[in-house]
């Protein structure tokens, strides 16, 4: 059981990184980005290419991966989001489907379908309280917690964070107080792209990068955002951990001593979460209220 909890923590750390940024974007712009999974993979693949092919040090490769995530999300925001979301907030849903196809094609052209791992050595499992996990996994869990703490400090302890939260609550009211909302929109989208790239690096370090991972990653992140309450960053992060743990428990436990659920159904947990929450509690677990006059 403890091993399942550890596995849930590892998978949850990855999902939390992606879902946190996504929740922020959804809270402010109200747009769905269906190319998120591909943006995650681009960050991971760039790091793999820099480290394994070009021979750059791991630290610089990770910085390169995050930089690529930032550049990509800046470009995506300028081309696939801005010209559309002011006309109709559903348009980016279709444009990001197109972007997802383009990025899928580019990933296949550049990196082929073979699995790619950023780190190939030093993954010997360590025994810890009766469970097994390796050093990169421990570091990744701690780094995720650190990153989320930094994120919390920026959001709640700085003037910049207060401006961000003001824009999340009410765009136009924030602008009337002199906050440059369009600039913050761009910055938030870029921040979400960097977090997505971190997720890709996490996958590349812990497991293998594969083009088929993109869409399941997007779906899991959306499940967390919907369950956490649309736009509620901390709700999404909490639910990302909860969904990952549930995924581990569903296929890892012999229910009632006899019932065994095949591993193939693991990915349906996120889908079930989406369906059940949209049907029974569409506002999510931690719905945030919008202030109105």
């Amino acid at each position: 059981m403890l091993q399942l909890l550890i596995n849930g923590l590892i998978a949850g750390s990855l999902a939390a990184l992606i879902a946190g940024g996504l929740a922020l974007v959804y809270g402010i712009l109200g747009v769905f980005n269906l190319a998120l999974g591909q943006m995650v993979l681009i960050g991971g693949y760039t790091t793999w290419w820099l480290h394994q092919v070009m021979g750059v040090s791991l630290f610089l490769s990770i910085l390169g991966g995050m930089g690529t995530g930032a550049l990509l999300s800046w470009g995506v925001f300028a081309v696939f989001i801005v010209p559309f979301y002011k006309r109709h907030r559903f348009l980016p849903l279709v444009t990001t489907i197109a972007l997802g196809m383009i990025l899928d094609g580019l990933i296949l052209l550049a990196f082929q379908e073979s699995p790619r791992s950023i780190i190939t050595e030093g993954k010997m499992p360590i025994r810890f309280m009766g469970t097994y996990l390796n050093l990169p996994q421990m570091i990744m869990i701690m780094l995720t917690v650190l990153l989320l703490c930094l994120f919390a400090w920026v959001m709640h302890g700085t003037a910049f964070g207060r401006r961000l939260r003001a824009v999340v609550q009410h765009d136009y009211a924030a602008m009337s107080l002199g906050i440059r909302a369009p600039v913050l929109h761009r910055l938030i989208f870029i921040a979400s792209g960097v977090l997505a790239a971190c997720g890709g690096i996490f996958i590349g370090v812990d497991m293998n990068l594969s083009p088929t991972l993109a869409f399941p990653l997007t779906i899991k992140a959306y499940a967390a955002v919907i369950a956490g309450g649309k736009g509620n960053v901390w709700g999404a992060i909490f639910c990302a951990y909860a969904i990952s743990l549930l995924e581990q428990l569903v296929v890892g436990v012999h229910w009632f001593g006899t019932l065994y659920i095949p591993a193939g159904f693991q990915s349906t947990v996120a889908l079930l979460v989406i369906i059940l929450f949209l049907l029974l509690r569409p506002q999510g677990l931690f719905s945030s209220t919008t202030r109105a006059a």
Binding site: F32, F84, R89, F90, G105, T268
Partner: protein, 285 residues
């Protein structure tokens, strides 16, 4: 000649669900991305009953029609209950859920291996004759869709998509229209699945994944949402492009990625051109 007949067959097979989807997404502006959920239920019910349980084709077809009608009614109900974007995400989740069930319920569906050895019967064995039947059916389907599009249902659907409240204030029943269009799109999925599985003699679950759904979206957006003529022409051109890309001399491992990039660009350009009409702004006084 065989390849030409194959292209014609593929166009006819795709016209059924695409035109049905055009009624839902193009004309009705209902954010539905789960058309393939209907296809999965329809085609698997039909083929499991005929090939695994050896029931007659007519009875199996009737059962598949019942099954797809149930799914269509459920989707119609959900589209009325949820916000548009919520329904969009839910419909994707439903499709992936059905796909996961099909892939993992191996004792019945044979999982990722798919169902092979599907008999051509009750359709004719000769490819030319079979394609002719498909062409006739597709023409009939286009005519049906055109009649619906220009009838009071089409006009009511257009009014409702522009402003649901004003439409309902004019006496248009949103519930009735959603049920009609979802049932029609379900019938389109069933016809397409029935023809396709008999034509290829094989059913693969990978034919019903999310990229297949994106192809429907692309046909509708590129052809002009709601236009039967435009969507028909777009489907013909896109199928010719999809099948014809293998003859431009690219190495075989590049065809898939190049096709993805090309279709992604086409979809983006189509949305760019139609960015003011794809989801029209509500008119105000």
């Amino acid at each position: 000649m065989t390849f030409f007949l194959h292209i014609v067959a593929m166009i006819c097979i795709l016209l059924f669900p695409v035109l049905g989807y055009n009624l839902v997404f193009g004309k009705g502006k209902i954010m539905h991305f789960g058309q393939e959920a209907q296809s999965i239920v329809a085609v698997y019910t039909l083929l499991v009953l005929t090939t695994q349980m050896h029931l007659s084709y007519g009875f199996s077809f009737f059962c598949a029609l019942l099954a797809v009608s149930c799914v269509s009614l459920a989707l119609a109900w959900l589209s009325l209950r949820l916000t548009p974007d919520g329904f969009g995400v839910l419909s994707i989740a439903l499709q992936l859920m059905f796909l996961a069930v099909v892939l993992n319920w191996q004792s019945v569906t044979r999982g990722a291996l798919g169902i092979s050895g599907i008999p051509r019967a009750p359709w004719p064995e000769a490819q030319g004759l079979f394609v002719m039947i498909m062409v006739s059916s597709a023409v009939l389907w286009i005519a049906c869709m055109w009649v619906i599009d220009t009838s009071i249902i089409g006009r009511q659907l257009a009014a409702l998509s522009e402003h649901p409240w004003y439409g309902e204030a004019q006496g248009i029943s949103r519930r009735r229209l959603h049920i009609i269009v979802f049932l029609l799109s379900g019938v389109g999925s069933l016809l397409s699945g029935a023809f396709y599985s008999s034509y290829i003699a094989f059913l693969s679950p990978s034919d019903y994944d999310f990229p297949a759904m994106i192809f429907f979206v692309m046909c509708v957006v590129a052809g002009r949402p709601g236009s039967v003529r435009g969507v028909t022409i777009a489907t013909i051109l896109l199928v010719v492009l999809r099948e014809g890309i293998r003859f431009i001399g690219l190495p075989i491992h590049l065809i898939g990625p190049v096709r993805l990039i090309l279709f992604g660009l086409i979809l983006f350009v189509a949305v760019w051109i139609r960015r003011d009409s794809l989801f029209p702004r509500q008119r105000t006084v």
